[in-house]
Amino acid sequence: MSPSLETATTAVPAPILVVDDHPENRTALRAILSSPNYRIVEAGSGAEALLRLLEQEFAVLLIDVVMPDMSGFDLAAAIKERERTAVIPIVFLTAQATDVDLVFKGYQAGAVDYLMKPLMPEMIRAKVAVFTQLFREKKRNEQQAARLLDVERNENEFRLMELRLASERRYRTLAQAVPHIVWTARPDGAVDYFNQRWFEYTGVSVAQAAGSWLGILHADDLARCRTDWENAMRWGEMFQAECRLRASDGAFRWYLCRAVPERSATGQILSWVGTFTDIEDQKRVQAIRAEFKDTLDAEPDAVIIFAPRNWRIVYVNQGASALLGYSKDELLRMAPADFMAEHDDSGFQKVLAPLVEGTEPHILLETQFRRRHPLAPVDVSVLLIRIGADRIVSIARDITERKRTQLERELLYREAVDAIRARDEFLSVASHELRTPLSALQLQIQALLQPPRRSPQAVLSPEQIKAKLEMAYRQTERLTRLVGELMDVSRITAGRLRLELEEIDLSAVVRDVVGRFGEEASRTHSNVEISAVTPVVGMWDRIRVEQVVANLFTNAFKFGGGRPIDIRVEERGPIGRLVVVDHGIGIASQDVERIFHRYEQAISSRAFGGLGLGLYIARQIIEAHGGTIRVESQLGAGSTFTIDLPKGAITSGEGAASTEAA
C-alpha cells in the first residue's frame, strides 16, 4: 500500500461492518482497527447485519462464522444473493480452516477471505487495509467517472446553449433582414415569432395575429391552405402553398408560403420555420404569359417584357423575333431603345412615365421599330402594360398592312364620295338636259293642238305643220341621243362596250359629221376650217368613231365662244390622227385630267348644258380601239383635242371583226 493512497483517502473513512454475537469480540476488533481511516459499524446478529447493509455501503465485512439464529455462512449467502451487496469483500472469522475451504467453493464471485482465531491484530489490519484500498479505488473511480460525466455534461450543455443563442441571434437578424416574411411556430403550429416584414406588410401585431398567420389569407385560399398546413404538421412534412395575403391597405398579393420543421437529433419536431415570399410579379407575368402564350405566339404580335429600371429585356416571344428580325437570344441582350426608331432611352422613359408612376394602366403607342439590317423599319402599334414594380409588357403589332388598307379605305371613301357627288350632279344635269327637249316637244305639240288666241279660226298650212313636226322630231332625236349617252355610260361601266370593226375612212367620217353640224355652226357663228381630204383608213367601229367626232364638235361649238374651229385629219404612220382646235374659253390646267371622267365638266355651272358624258364616252371608245385622246388647253385661249387611233390590221374583204373592250 502506498502511503499516498492512504493519505489521499483519509478524508473519507471507509465504513467497516463487524458482525459477531459476542460484544467483547466486536470491541476487540474495534480496538484493533481504530484509525481515522475506518469507521466501524457493529452488528450483533446476521439479521442486524442485513439491516445495516440496506442502510449503507461498506468497504469490507468482518463476519464471525459461528453465531446463533443465522451462521456467518448463511449471512454471506444472503449477501451474495443481492446484486448490490454481492461484490462487497467478506472476511470470515473462524476457528476451523477446513470449513472455510468448503465455503469458498460456493462463492466464486466476489472476494472472500478468512482470518483464523485467535485473531492476530497485524493480520487483521493488513487484510482490512487491502480491501479498504480496493473499495476506495473503486469509489474514487466511480466518483471521477461521475465527476467527469458531470463536467462533460455541463460543458456540452453550455456550448449547446451558446450555439443555440448565437444561431437564434443570427437567425433573427437574418430574418429581419430578408425581404420575405419569416415566422417560427411551436410544433403545434402556434406562431411565436414574426419578423419585421410581417408587420410592415400585414400591419397585424403579434397580439392580433393570435399565433396564426391564417387570418390574413384570401378567403378563396383559406380552406386549401389550412388543410395543407394541418397535414404538414400532422406528418411533419414541408408545407408549401401559393396564396394571396392581405396587406395593411386591404389589397392582396400572391405569396409563396413555405414552412419547414426543425427537428432534434432524435427526429422530434422542435419548431416550424415559415417564409412567405412575394410572387405577385411572377404570378402576373405568368398570368399574362399564360393569357398571351397561345394567342400571341400564334399571332404575329411581338411580345416583349422588359424592366424599365435598367432596360433589360426579360422575355420575348416568337412574334418579336419574327417582327424585328433578331433571334430571341439576341433580343434578350438588347434594350428597347435599340429597336425603337423614334425614342432613345430618355424619350422612352418619358413615354413610360405614366405607367411607372401608375397613373395609367396602359399606353397605346403608334411608332416605328428598326429591324435587323437590311429589313426596312416597320410601323407598329404598341400596347404597353405595367406588371409589377419593374416589368412592362409591350405588345407590338405590325400595322403596315392596316395603314395601307386604311389609306386605301380613305382613298376609296373619297372616291366614293366624289363619285356620289358627281352622280348627284349628273342626275341634276341629266334631268335638266332631258327636260329641255321634252319641254320643247310639249310646247310644239301644244302649238299644233292649240290655235293662236288672236286668230282662233286660223288653220295651219301643211308646210307649217310639217315644220313643227320636224322640229318635234328633232327633239325626240335629242332625247334619243341623251338616252343613248346614258346607255353608253352604263354599258362602259358594265364593261360591255362592243366594237364592230370595219375598214373606214376617218376623213370621210369627219366630213360627214361636220356636214351635220352646219346649222349649229351657223347659229354659233363659228367658222369651221376643215382639212380632211386624204383618206385615212383603219379598222374602226364606224358608229363609235362618228360618236367621238360628234362629241368633240359639240364641245368645240359649245365652248368655242363663236370663234373659228379648226379640224384636221392626218396620217401618222400606223396612226390615224384627228385634231380639233377651238379658240374658246379653254380649260384650266387642274381640270384637264378631270374632263375625261364621268359626269365631269370643267365648268362647274350647268350653263353649257349637256350631260358631261361626252369626253368620258369618247375616251372609253378611243381606248377600246387601243388609241389615245388628249387635250392641250389654255384658259381663255382655247383647247386642242388630239385623238390618235391605231389603224390596226387592215383585213380587206374579210368583213367586220369585233372586239370586246372595257
Partner: protein
C-alpha cells in the same frame, strides 16, 4: 335674228334662250299671237342685240341658265344701262323657287318650265299687254 310681225305697231319681245329649238318655238307661238320676236342665244348676244338695234323690246323673256353669259349676269349688265334698264324681264326657269329668283333680280314676272302656251301668253300679256300698240 329678228322676225317681223303684222306691222310696225307690233310689240317686240326679245327671247334670250340657248336652246335654239325652244327659242324658235317660243318665237313662233308669240308671233302667231301678233308679237314681234327677236332671239339671242345668251346674255352676251342679248346685250349686243340691244345695243345694236334701235328697236327697243317691250319685254325680255330670259332663260337663266345659259353659257357665256347667264341670266343673272345679263340682268346685272342690263340694269347698268339707263336706256335699257326699264325693259321688263320675265324669267324662264325650271328650278324651284322661280318666284324668289325672279324677285331677287327684280323681274316683272316668271314662267316655269316645262312651258305651257297658256301660261306663257298670260304672263306676257300681264306684263306688256296685248300684242299690238293700240
Amino acid at each position: 335674228m329678228v322676225a317681223s310681225g303684222e306691222g310696225p305697231m307690233a310689240k317686240l319681245i326679245l327671247i334670250v334662250e340657248d336652246d335654239l329649238d325652244v327659242a324658235r318655238l317660243l318665237g313662233e307661238v308669240l308671233e302667231a299671237e301678233g308679237y314681234d320676236t327677236a332671239i339671242a342665244a345668251n346674255g352676251r348676244e342679248a346685250l349686243d342685240h340691244l345695243q345694236k338695234n334701235n328697236h327697243r323690246p317691250d319685254l325680255i323673256l330670259l332663260d337663266m341658265m345659259m353659257p357665256v353669259m347667264d341670266g343673272w349676269k345679263f340682268r346685272e349688265e342690263q340694269r347698268k344701262l339707263p336706256a335699257l334698264a326699264s325693259i321688263p324681264v320675265v324669267t324662264v326657269t325650271a328650278d324651284g323657287d322661280a318666284r324668289g329668283k325672279a324677285a331677287s333680280i327684280q323681274a316683272a314676272g316668271y314662267i316655269l318650265k316645262p312651258l305651257s302656251i297658256d301660261t306663257l301668253l298670260d304672263e306676257v300679256e300681264r306684263v306688256c299687254g296685248v300684242p299690238t300698240v293700240s
